[in-house]
Amino acid sequence: MSATIRIVAAPRSSSSRWSWRDPRARAAIWQVVIVGLLVGTIALIAVQTTTNLRSRGIASGFTYLTRSAGFEIPESTLSYSSRDSYGRALAVGIVNTLRVSTIGVLAAVMLGVVIGVARLSSIWVVSTVAKWYVEVLRNTPLLLQLLFWYSVMLALPTVHDAIHPLPGVFLSDRGLFLPSIGWHGGVPSLDMPQLMRFSFRGGLWITPEFATLLVGLATYTAAFIAEIVRSGVLAVDKGQTEAASALGLSRYRTLRLVVLPQALRVIIPPTTSQLLNLFKNSSLAVAIGYPELMSITTTTLNQTGQAMEAILIAMTCYLAISLSISLGMNSYNRRVVLRGQGA
């Protein structure tokens, strides 16, 4: 393209005299004007914001992070109490975001692969059910699905009538209780949830909020991954399968050695963006009250009035994590592509 533009342009005279007809000069002026406009707008906003903040008596700055937060966080992997600082609360939020995203990604990939393969099944009932799963989940808003799952969780029976399908497993409106493995005097032992007056004690407690977010994010993202898996497998040339069976490879070895490595090359790039979406969508927890990064941010900004700082911190965190995920996935993608081409 650059070559063609040079053909159109008037031939540059050997003298360095400045001229409107010189595309380079025009480009330089355009860029100066655009950058100037951008800087000007930002400066204008900055000045206006400072004036507004001063007249509202809001002191800007990040010192609020060291002040005591004063709100409880119902679930936290880090130790936290309401006397801890806003900074600590933020860290709890980030850990909770990472926790739900990591488990969500694993669940979404597994479910997505299963449904994607089911869509390709030669069994009509299986492929039809998988197809409608994908259609329904993809064509309704995720926030709506989360609110729906949350309503379902809260409509479950109370702890006293908890659904009790397996020993030690209790599903009620207080969440899911599972047996956990504890260590008593160096010996692993099974820790069973016990029904107390108001709730269960012991075992592993999965809160309704966490369960909702996990189920909502995983089932929604799985629908998208299923479509990617399906198109990835379909993208592998039929001749490849035929050639493999002509060589006498079993169906399983054909799938593992021939079809999947080639399908993965098609599958991985769009799956990366779906996993990034899952991570970003975990911020919808703000609507159901799971204390992840976005919920903690809104609580903080409501209490302190430090809207600018709180939102900027949240966005920076999302940005940093998003960029690291895409860097990681890109390097994995390169490895898969190379292995595929090297073979």
């Binding site: 533009i5 507004n52 299986v126 329904v136 309704t140 995720l142 409509a155 911020s283 940005l319």
Partner: protein
């Protein structure tokens, strides 16, 4: 006799009985599905409460809670869910506005109408809808935006933001491929930054930070702020879609334009963009569907769009606890729109790729 044979043959050729594996699987999964379906039907139809007489609150629903659905909440609050708190005697206005939007979508589906005039229509129809909803003209009473809600608000948010984001998306896509390093860097930075952060954070930013950016005498309506957030985000996603279209244009097109001496802008406007937009129409429509669903996020800043209104219904003590019914209903409304549009794009994609291969 021949009838029975014909029937047997059509049963045999049905996809669920075409071979032995399928027949066995159909019998097995069929049994499970019939069982689940029957349980659902018992809840949703047989034991369901469809209406409650006035004055008894939600007592009849509470009586069957757990075993039967309470569709009475829908019939009781249908007007609020679909139109928000718009004044009762003026409700023909949001209804007409919604019909205008549906007509716009239907008109856009006609391929013979894919002309630059369609862009004008996408600006004119929302403008007309806003005039109609807002009032204050032609003897219509003025209705503030905080009373707008339901389906027309969902249509308005998605259509207006899309129409306004489109030119920005084009500019960003061209900027990303520009030969001017400053322009290219700015476009790439903007697109990647916006795409790396969640939409919710942008909506919160618009809701709480924008008022700080403008003089205090200038009050930014909450609905307007939501629009700004959507335009900012949509333009970044549209830019990426259009970039694909720009990359797909054969080099010969640029060279042909250059050989007849066409400068950059005429080449871009008359040759490059029409082709780039045409090849990406299915992806553009998919982006629109995605954002049509995502406008539901305004519920978190307290706007009463379709989902926001549904969320507000079950805050009411009378209907608290009937979220499952309300959300199923709203999901069906969203599904009707997005599913029909996505079916349309799937067909369009097949037609377009068939034409390209000819």
């Amino acid at each position: 006799m021949s009838n029975a044979t014909a029937m047997m043959r059509s049963v045999r050729s049905a996809p669920m009985f075409r071979d032995r594996t399928n027949t066995i699987a159909t019998a097995m999964f069929g049994a499970i599905l019939v069982y689940l379906g029957a349980r659902f039907a018992r809840w949703a139809v047989v034991n369901a409460v469809w209406t409650v007489p006035p004055g008894v609150g939600s007592a009849p629903c509470r009586a069957v809670a757990g075993s039967g659905a309470c569709w009475a909440v829908i019939s009781d609050r249908l007007r609020f869910i679909s139109l928000g708190t718009y004044p009762l005697d003026q409700q023909w206005r949001p209804v007409v506005a919604s019909l205008l939007f549906i007509a716009l979508y239907a008109a856009s589906a006609r391929r013979s109408w894919w002309k630059p005039g369609l862009f004008v229509l996408w600006l004119a129809v929302p403008a007309l809808a806003i005039v109609l909803l807002r009032g204050g003209w032609f003897g219509l009473s003025s209705v503030a935006t905080e009373f707008w809600g339901g389906l027309p608000l969902t249509f308005l948010l998605s259509t207006v933001s899309f129409a306004l984001a489109f030119p920005f998306g084009v500019a960003l896509a061209l900027g990303r491929r520009s030969e001017m390093p400053a322009v290219r860097t700015m476009s790439i930075t903007y697109i990647e930054l916006i795409r790396a952060v969640p939409l919710v954070s942008m909506i919160f930013m618009a809701a709480v930070m924008f008022p700080l950016f403008v003089p205090q005498s200038f009050t930014l309506d909450k609905l307007l702020r939501a629009h700004v957030a959507f335009v900012m985000v949509m333009s970044a996603y549209l830019a990426e879609v259009l970039r694909g279209g720009l990359q797909a244009i054969p080099k010969g097109q640029y060279e042909a334009a250059a050989s007849i001496g066409l400068p950059y802008w005429p080449t871009t406007v008359m040759i490059v963009l029409p082709q780039a937009v045409r090849t990406t129409i299915p992806s553009i429509v998919n982006t629109f569907i995605g954002f049509f669903k995502d406008t539901s996020l305004v519920a978190v800043i307290g706007l009463f769009d379709l989902l926001g209104a549904a969320k507000a219904v079950i805050v009411d003590p009378k209907w608290v606890g009937f979220g499952v019914e309300v959300y199923l209903f709203v999901a069906a409304v969203y599904f009707t729109f997005t599913f029909s549009v996505s079916r349309y794009t799937q067909r369009l994609e097949r037609v377009l790729s068939a034409e390209r291969n000819h």
